[in-house]
Symmetry: C2
Subunit: 205 residues, 2 copies
DNA sequence: GACCAAAATTGGTCGGACCACTATAGTTCG
DNA sequence: CGAACTATAGTGGTCCGACCAATTTTGGTC
């Protein structure tokens, strides 16, 4: 997994807590650093990561602002990348990947009534698939996708029934990875993301 | 376009000049900063970007090392993403995108005998497509791809004839974007990348 | 109200200090 | 002589305070 910046994650959480919307201005770097209890240097390292991802935009002399993100575009991009990652994972996975996948699947089954926990386990499953693909580009790109996703709590199914359906598809995906069946894994992932698209909030009519 | 770090680019060039191979150790941060004439803080900002991309790996107490990159994996990932970007570009492009595409195409035609210049213009064309897609995820992801690509001079056709063939396909791509024909743009991009795959150096057999 | 200059605020860069960890060279001991 | 241990120097990671550059706000002037 690419290196992760703890400060970036904390900033993410903070933005989420304050329910900032695109265009909103973040607190100044000095203030944010104070609030998080880290130095401005470390904070800037985290902000830089978010800026590289296009999540925030810094304007010298003015401030740092939250950028807009179209969930449909993000899901469409995932729809192109992740089925490929699933195929690679099925073809290249190693024993430790299968163990992690099984564990994560168990967590998913145990979090059917816990939306946040379910979303968390879902992210972890996707990360494991990326890891198992043994492809640096895939890992880097899907890591960026995950970072973008973390900014939208709206991507997880609201009702438990939908979550149950999700688990069924993911079970099929994991089974395919176990079996080394790249084709089946790719199809399962595509179906899974198709459900994500369907659950997306409507827009513009 | 996502913010870019000038220091990261200079480090990239420096690594390229010294012909470092995966596993090689980079100079220490203090030394590298001195060589580039920037502060260690700024250098670290650039290195952080490269580390996020998985291009380098820092080991505390030991040093920073160049990671390995499988060009085939990278091209396969592009093959999934870029045709989609081309489709979006055809559907969403604005007049200024078309102007830039035409300019870049002209540069390509003029650099048939200049391998480095050709590679440069090629990268710019792909960046313009990403920009024209008007999709933040696509721009972020393809920007990362471009960063990974910049580490491999081996991706450009060696002989002028192949470059000529490349231009023909890219002309078709640009024409499709002009016409707003997403399907044709996607197909053209796929064909273009197919040629890239075919030109990849053989391995392991 | 319009315009302009000064001041405050903000992101960007810098240099230095210290910490945590590693690798290496010396030293000691069996 | 070799192995185990111990300084020691070197490395990336974090922090701090200062200054620079650009912008925004403020206050005055007409």
């Amino acid at each position: 997994m690419p290196p992760r910046n703890a400060v970036a994650d904390r900033v993410r959480i903070l933005l989420d807590e304050r329910a900032l919307v695109p265009g909103d201005r973040l607190p100044s770097e000095r203030e944010l650093a104070a609030q998080l209890g880290v130095s401005r240097s470390s904070l800037r390292e985290g902000l830089g990561r978010l800026a590289d991802l296009g999540i925030i935009e810094a304007r010298r002399g003015s401030g740092t602002y939250l950028a807009a993100l179209d969930l449909r575009d993000l899901t469409d991009a995932r729809l192109r990348l992740e089925p490929y990652a699933a195929r690679l994972a099925a073809e290249r996975r190693e024993p430790r990947d299968l163990v992690r996948l099984d564990e994560t699947l168990a967590e998913l089954r145990g979090s059917l009534e816990d939306r946040a926990g379910f979303a968390d386990a879902d992210l972890r499953l996707h990360a494991t698939i990326a890891e198992a693909s043994r492809s640096l580009p895939v890992r880097v790109l899907l890591d960026a996708v995950a970072d973008l996703l973390r900014h939208s709590r709206a991507v997880t199914a609201v009702d438990p029934d939908t979550r149950r359906a999700t688990v069924v598809v993911l079970e099929r995906l994991v089974r395919a990875v176990h079996a080394g069946d790249g084709e089946a894994a790719e199809i399962a992932m595509r179906e899974h993301l198709g459900h994500v698209v369907a659950a997306l909030p409507r827009e513009g009519g």
